[in-house]
Symmetry: C2
Subunit: 303 residues, 2 copies
């Protein structure tokens, strides 16, 4: 079996993901100031495995998860082989890091990011990833800050990327049965290739961009006073988050179908979620205003 000794690119990608996990866990622990990340290793029948780091009941974070995985497969999965016939039947290495942050304060948005590398050979490989934001209450300045920070990151590498990946993100995070998006989007890219060093630099820069994109928003929201009304609304919105992840998210469904590590896959779910029959926020309330944020919008051009 492959994978005892990784190729140079695979090693670099795996190191990038693992370092990202380490650095994010350290930064988020320090930011929270109270909660600690538990540590759970899992492996998949000698094909590789991963490390899940999960904080529950922090001061700022109700749940925070940062997972890393490194899998050596003997044969490219069918869905990928179908899209890339030249990879069919080949062994591969896949490594990635994923981040899901559900803060306690209803005014603070949930954050999701992942980066991943898929390699068949030194010629056939790609990176994927991105990040997005899911608020329960919308704030224009937060959405503008988030998208500006992501656009600046992408623009440092290729000015055509942000507009294309922002669109991909809006399309991916749609909840068609609700006629809304999961949140205010962000950027998402897949099968990025064309020069390993260039792609690696984009992803490494992306890892460094996550906290500057998110923490200034959390700074503003994490200590806002709230009551039962805001908590109930947050839990209803988390119900939508669950609906997206279990009904539409390709990563989740692929993981469940292929019997991946169930806890690592479902780490993305919020700790608590609520459903109410035919709930509609009162017109004119901040809850009703959220609808404005749940459709694709050009936040860079926002006044």
């Amino acid at each position: 079996m492959k994978g005892e000794t990784l190729g140079e690119q695979e090693s670099a990608a795996a190191r990038l993901m693992r370092t990202a996990q380490h650095d994010l866990v350290e930064a988020l622990t320090s930011y929270d100031g109270d909660g600690e990340f538990r540590h759970a290793e899992w492996d998949r029948d000698g094909l590789g495995g991963g490390t899940a780091r999960v904080m529950t009941d922090g001061r700022v974070f109700e749940r925070a998860g940062v997972n890393v995985s490194l899998i050596h497969g003997s044969e490219v999965p069918p869905t990928i082989a179908k899209a890339m016939p030249e990879a069919a039947g080949q062994p591969y290495t896949a490594t990635g890091v994923s981040v899901v942050l559900h803060p306690r304060n209803p005014y603070a948005p949930s954050f999701h990011a992942n980066f991943r590398y898929f390699g068949v050979s030194s010629e056939l490989w790609w990176f994927g990833g991105g990040c997005d934001l899911t608020p329960s209450y919308g704030f224009d300045e937060d959405a503008v800050h988030f998208h500006r920070t992501l656009a600046a990151w992408c623009d440092r590498h290729d000015p055509s990327w942000y507009p294309a990946w922002k669109k991909e993100c809006d399309e991916y995070f749609a909840i068609p049965h609700r006629g809304e998006t999961r949140g205010i989007g962000g950027v998402f890219f897949d099968r990025l290739t064309g020069g390993f060093d260039r792609c690696y630099a984009l992803v490494a820069d992306g890892v460094r961009t996550l906290l500057p994109a998110y923490l200034p928003i959390l700074d503003r929201r994490r200590d806002m006073p709230y009551g039962e009304r805001e908590r109930t609304w947050q839990l209803l919105r988390r119900g939508r988050y669950v609906e997206f992840n279990l009904v539409h998210d390709r990563g989740t469904l692929f993981g469940l179908q292929t019997r991946g590590n169930i806890e690592a896959i479902l780490m993305s779910l919020p700790p608590l979620a609520r459903w109410e029959f035919a709930h509609q926020p009162e017109p004119g309330t901040p809850e009703a205003d959220l609808a404005r944020f749940l459709r694709p919008h050009n936040w860079l051009a926002h006044a």
Copy 2:
């Protein structure tokens, strides 16, 4: 369009479903003693519609829903046409009633039932339906009572039905990614045909069997003392309920894909659900004992 005047069988089936809703709402209101059923009509672009009746925040029921629908379609849906080529391209009538009860007390199991009729012509039609029970805490006597009551109902009509439909239920309500069933099962049948009067009698008798199968269990459990530990466990088990309904339930996914009435479809979700990372109940606890109930078991032969 068809459906202005229903055929005799369709009328009888639609009346059966509507009467079932009325009687169940009345009985459950009286049983709860405090909560009331809200009433919401929906229609589907002139194809028909339905009535959702939902109680929230009752004394016994945290959520109780009883929906009825009557749809006249101009063309049999593709999944059915594929299984029954003789129905392809035909107009149809579909009517059904569905019941989902989530009691407040963690010791009291959730209950689900539905009955439905699908008719293309007086020769081409079938009934489907059944009911099942989802406890958070397992009690042998409850499981035995539930299955005995269902077996007695089926046996009054055909002694081969209970064993076959109990097996169908166990298979349908599996959560493969968790390696467990949603609950202790019950009975489930689909495409039952062969003499309208005989099938109608089975279903009408089934409607009358729902409360005798469930309420004696609820009588025993609804006032058992409990605390935060039991409530937390109940919410974690409701997380599994959500996983089944959103990832596996064919009815839910079909409804979401075909843009059915979203609130009526998702009425089945519990009001509140919880996910914890890698949660495992302590061996030897009542929580750990639930595992014994979440695999197929012959409850009729249970000592």
